[in-house]
Amino acid sequence: MPRSLMQPEFLVQRDKERCIECKTCVRQCGFGVHEYEEARGVLVSNDSECVSCRRCVVFCPTGALQIKKNEAYRENSYWTEDRLRDLRRQAEFGGTLLTGMGCDRTYPIYFDHILLNASQVTNPPIDPLREPIETRVYIGRRPEKPVPASASGCGIPLTGMPMQVSAEVPAAVSAEMPCEMPKGAATVELGEMAKGPTTVESGEMATEMPPAVKLEIPVIFSAMSFGSISKNAILSIARAAASLGTMFNTGEGGMHRDLEPYKDHMIVQVASGRFGVDPSYLNAGRIIEIKIGQGAKPGIGGHLPGEKVGEEIALTRGIPRGSDAISPAPHHDIYSIEDLRQLIYTAKEATEYRKPVSVKIAAVHNVAAIASGAARAGADIIAVDGLRGGTGAAPKMIRDNVGLPIELAISAVDRRLRREGLREKVFLIAGGGIRCSADLAKIICLGADAAYIGTAALLALGCHLCHKCYTGNCSWGIATQNPYLTRRINPELGSQRLINLLTAWSHELKEIMGAMGINAIESLRGNRLQLRGVGLPENELRELEIKQAGEAM
């Protein structure tokens, strides 16, 4: 090839007046941009390798560095800079454009067109500092009908069984339920679960509930596998989940043995590659998640290149060292809802009906019907991952052009499930683009029971959204397996940042709920009356089932 037509995307600017030549930037850049030239005794930067991860900017002790966008291409309002750059790159190198993290394009952000309500005079607000506001939720299937405990298998609702006696059960009695509950279930207190149907059998009260797990805050760390992110990043998340009383998700990479202490807060994922899946894995966590799709790349499988499959990852995934870890686009045993049902019940059988089973799907145009099918197939939990959901690697055209914003998707799924009488049976998790506690409140009002956060968690760990996760050079030690880089996440510090973040969100959520005069997530869920749209056309308001700002209750 003759001279390349590519231009650097960013320019590194070093203020020579401020630079003290400590060479921190040289040692911190994961992309090898900075260099100290011994011969001339000067610091130089190779701009064309810079991805603007800002590690050097944050670490430079004197604030001598700035990263600027390079206006190298003559853009116009149609041929924007990134279109030109991508086109040039493909003209030069061919091949599919790869990227990491979530879609960054300028589609409407419905969260920013929705306003929340607050109470005034007629229904007084609640002060969360003085009165209790409940952010606790139970994740799992809700019972359809009261079921005599002895007549059913544990956790399998048998419809149509005659109800004997139904009553609110006191906590003390419920502890004697005949049905075996998950062992070692630290966060499930039997008494608290026993809100369900009660029967009287040979003079004794018995209560049965499908397995459920308590979440202290309706935010769960979403699936990020060991492989896509570093072990230290996963450990930070696992520790935070345990301390916050919520859950984290292993992703499709199997369970690293160091996660053992956090098993009670773990969702184990089963994806199309089935990496590390065996009965002990399925039984290790509290919830099993069958991953059908991912918001960042609906319809696309995964590929962890062999170079990244070192000893630890090979062991965790149960594959040979150095081999490519390929997750096919479909599960090759799932081509229908009936097939999905088989896998769901295989998972349930393998775990003796002690674990709720979740099905994670990407938000695509037909998401409501698919969610309805998953609910009928026996899913206890449905996780919907929206357009803005992140990834370790995806084809850029798929990430940026396929899917639905989570706000619309959740609204559609919630509506469909309600209309079909299924909504109360399943727990609905929304993921893909939750940025703050207000987004969280809004998505719950739109019908979610809880939210998954992935990108937000990585941002808390230091991620600067450079979208270069697929390179394995993450300067922040997150999306990398390079031992020089992974040590940049110290789980002690990382978990604390995550705990701080979610503690703050929890306070804010309580403030938001208190202002509305609502004291439990149950009353917030699907409460679209608390939402109003601004600047949205009528059909979008209709899709979201919310009123125009200015319209009264």
Partner: protein
């Protein structure tokens, strides 16, 4: 006694401990001035050694029975009984470098004074601060200032 302990697993090789050590021992409050204000910036009292992927901040262990003190020809080096710190008297040091050789950690460095004579620099655990400057500067909690059974990390 409280010592600075470096966690090999989480040292990220940024050398910010060295930078802030220099600042703490310089007459200036500003980093740029500390390095560029005078003719010679104060050298750091600790040194990050690397063999990638690992790196490690080395500094005086303030040994219970310090070799450097035993070896010092002039009695410039001494162990302060009250605090346990190993310190030295500039006026007595003749810059011979015997202590450099005696220290099993290589924690003492030699430097030239403006008058052309040699002297040493070593960690003094920042007597004027509640926590040593390096510990405060560490971005990854790799350095901790605490009492431990073991002298070494």
């Amino acid at each position: 006694m409280k010592r600075v302990h470096c966690n090999l697993e989480f040292c990220v090789n940024c050398h910010l401990c060295e930078v802030y050590c220099t600042l703490a021992h310089s007459p200036y409050n500003d980093l740029v001035a500390a390095f560029k204000g005078g003719a010679h910036p104060e050298p750091a009292r600790l040194f990050v050694e690397e063999r990638r992927p690992a790196s490690f901040a080395v500094q005086c262990r303030h040994c219970d029975d310090p070799y450097c003190v035993t070896s010092c020809l002039t009695g410039a080096l001494y162990k302060e009984e009250s605090s346990g710190r190993v310190l030295y008297l500039q006026g007595k040091c003749i810059g011979c470098g015997t202590c450099l050789v005696a220290c099993p950690y290589g924690a003492i460095k030699r430097r030239m004074k403006p008058d052309g004579h040699f002297t040493i620099v070593k960690c003094d655990l920042c007597p004027d601060r509640t926590r040593p400057a390096c510990v405060e500067a560490c971005p990854n909690l790799a350095l901790k200032y605490e009492e431990r059974e073991q002298m070494n990390p």
